[in-house]
Homo-oligomer: 104 residues x 2
């Protein structure tokens, strides 16, 4: 097993508001990433050998954003809000089942 | 294969200078990450199905930093300078061989 069992990266890139590409952070990425980090910690899932939640720079899937990627599987999701992230945490991080409805 | 063949995250966390834990960014992380991103692009390795270089928040291996992790393998490295990163790019990203001397 790797240093983290699952390493989760939320794209939190912020672009200029008039940039036509948009960006994950304009769609709530930092807020939802903070929520995920807190939730994983409260569930006792955080730490070495377990789960790490990180922010990252632009993951370059802007049109599909906001996006998050879970390694080592390399499974990508989009999400609308905290409820979607709750489902990713419970299903993927706890139960090891990919959430197909959010997968991109 | 995943969206990226290899996805590389450089911890670029910056802490207060008087924080005893230190941080990767105080050891040149952003500069070296910028170098890696540019080099990978120049080598024609960047893009979907190939390599993505990203910055990330704190990866929580501060004492061993500066650190970088390569997924999906989940191989972690430390580095001193651009020469070390050249070796990681050539050996790991191009040739698929882990650079044991830099591995943590």
């Amino acid at each position: 097993m790797g240093y983290y069992e699952r390493h989760v990266f939320f794209c939190c890139n912020q672009r200029s508001p008039d940039d036509p590409r948009g960006c994950c952070n304009a769609k709530g990425a930092t807020r939802v990433r903070d929520y995920a980090k807190d939730k994983v910690k409260k569930l006792g899932l955080a730490g070495k050998g377990k789960v790490r939640i990180n922010q990252s720079g632009c993951l370059d899937r802007c049109e599909e954003g906001p996006v998050v990627v879970v390694y080592p599987e390399g499974v990508w999701y989009t999400y609308v809000d905290e409820q979607d992230v709750d489902e990713i945490i419970q299903e993927h991080l706890v139960n090891g089942r990919i959430v197909e409805r959010l997968r991109i």
